[in-house]
């Protein structure tokens, strides 16, 4: 079995467009949430969203590449470019080694809608243009990045709802651990446009605290009223420990545990039993006890029911261990398909810089969150081991454990 390490990270999110900006925002407890007026015109219950600019890649990528890229692939390109540079992986390395990609994504709403709009309006498929097909497929991020970076290893998209990014890292870890790949680019991307979130808004999942955007996402707080959608992309470069040491790559942490489960129940309602099973499996895989975990990055999205189930699951597994728990979604909103990857990046930044980022807006605990050690202000703390949860619709659960080397 190979040890699996992280040698590079990159991120493009509403709390920063690179690792340094994001680290500062996390430390300061800065919210990236705002109000996007166009959503009200489109009939949204809530116009709250993570606010981030769509990048302009004209100076970075040839027209032909850009033509096939929806916004989520653009975010993923920037995050991956940053991560590869950090990992000291250059063009020569990419050309001479088998590097794979497993990236989380679970929608391409804008590309599908805009393509179909042309077809309906013009009654002609050619006029949809050549980029539409490559932008509309769910594997758009992996197909674009594997082409841009000339990748030669594993290459597919992981669609596991809001656990997609986490599962992509879990699967990359599995392949490297078992010797089937040496280096895998993992991550998650999430489009931020209103088209991608209308139906989600339609099931009343979003906070309507529109008069206080930065206070709307308040995971575990008694007065939470729903999540705030967000997005961007985050990339984590996974490598075998042996390979990383051999080429002198920076080692940011070691993935030591991956747990997963399916609830086998309701399509949107989580379950304590299913979540707890994922947590326990990750701890067993890592061969550690709950006392060894210094920080838990919770999935908690700020929905009344979801946070309650996760609080109960963490309490069931961790008991009175009082491990610090925060949900960085209090600052970022729910980054959905990206979240499982970005939260590994956020937690790694905390581990590297010895602090726990706050669960902002946690003011009043409820019966379940009162049983956890939820940190509402930044604390300085050494983190040797952290655990990150990601849960998604359909009852898909993923838990990852990372250790400092």
């Amino acid at each position: 079995m190979n040890r699996v390490v992280i040698t590079g990270i990159g991120v493009y999110s509403c709390i920063g467009q690179n690792v340094d900006e994001v680290r500062d925002s996390l430390f300061k407890g800065k919210s990236g949430i705002g109000f996007e007026a166009i959503r009200k015109e489109m009939g949204f219950r809530s116009a709250l969203t993570g606010i981030l600019p769509v990048p302009n890649l004209k100076d970075k990528l040839h027209r032909r590449f850009r033509n096939s890229m929806p916004e989520e692939a653009e975010y993923a390109f920037l995050a991956t470019d940053e991560a590869l540079k950090m990992a000291k992986i250059d063009d020569a390395f990419l050309d001479n080694n088998i590097v794979g990609i497993l990236y989380g994504n679970d929608s391409t709403a804008r590309a599908v809608i805009e393509g179909v709009d042309v077809m309906r309006q013009k009654k002609d498929t050619t006029l949809m243009g050549s980029g539409s097909i490559f932008q509309s497929m769910n594997s758009t991020i992996t197909m674009n990045l594997s082409t841009i970076f000339r990748l030669k290893g594993i290459n597919f998209t992981v669609s596991g709802a809001c656990a997609s990014g986490s599962h992509s890292i879990g699967m990359g870890y599995f392949l490297i651990k078992h010797g089937m790949q040496e280096t895998v680019i993992c991550g998650g991307g999430q489009e931020v446009n209103p088209y991608s979130m209308g139906a989600f808004d339609g099931i009343s999942a979003f906070s309507v605290r529109e008069n206080e955007p930065t206070k709307a996402s308040r995971p575990f707080d008694k007065n939470r009223d729903g999540l705030v959608p967000s997005g961007g992309a985050a990339t984590v470069i996974l490598e075998s420990y042996e390979n990383a040491v051999k080429r002198g790559a920076p080692i940011l942490g070691e993935v030591i545990g991956y747990g997963f489960s399916s609830n086998g129940g309701h399509i949107s309602q989580p379950s304590v039993e299913g979540s707890a099973r994922s947590l326990k499996m990750s701890l067993k895989d890592a061969a550690i006890s709950v006392k060894d975990v210094d920080y838990i990055n919770a999935h908690a999205t700020s929905t009344p029911i979801g946070d309650m189930f996760e609080a109960r699951a963490i309490h069931e597994v961790f008991g009175d261990a009082k491990c610090p728990v925060t949900s960085t979604k209090s600052m970022t909103g729910h980054e959905c398909w990206m979240a499982g990857a970005s939260e590994i990046v956020y937690s790694l930044l905390m581990m590297q810089n010895s602090f726990v980022a706050p669960n902002i807006n946690f003011e009043t605990p409820d019966e379940d969150s009162a049983k956890l050690n939820i940190v509402s202000k930044t604390i300085e703390k050494n983190i040797d081991v952290f655990l990150s949860n990601s849960f998604g619709f359909g009852g898909t659960n993923s838990s990852l454990i990372v250790k400092k080397i």
Binding site: R63, R64, N67, S130
Partner: protein
């Protein structure tokens, strides 16, 4: 629209949409080689022609278009064709 206006419009979208270097666009230069067009690019050429001139070019129309001069002539002829 005059022929010159049509040519300027074509050069405009070739620079904007296809990021062509205007200094390389001469009447006798090869359209395909100068713009480095592949099969997907021809689909997008059909799209920009439709957006700018309101007619849909067919794939076979491009068989005899070798140079920018041929391309301009083709568009001018289609634009001036009676509806």
């Amino acid at each position: 629209m005059s022929n010159q206006e049509i040519i300027e419009k074509i050069n405009g979208f070739l620079v904007d949409e296809f990021e062509a270097d205007i200094s390389l666009i001469t009447p006798e230069a090869s359209l395909k080689e100068t713009l480095d067009l592949d099969s997907l690019d021809f689909v997008d050429l059909v799209v920009v022609i439709e957006n700018n001139f309101g007619f849909k070019a067919k794939g076979e129309d491009f068989v005899n278009i070798k140079t920018f001069h041929d391309f301009y002539d083709y568009i001018i002829q289609k634009v001036n064709q009676p509806a």
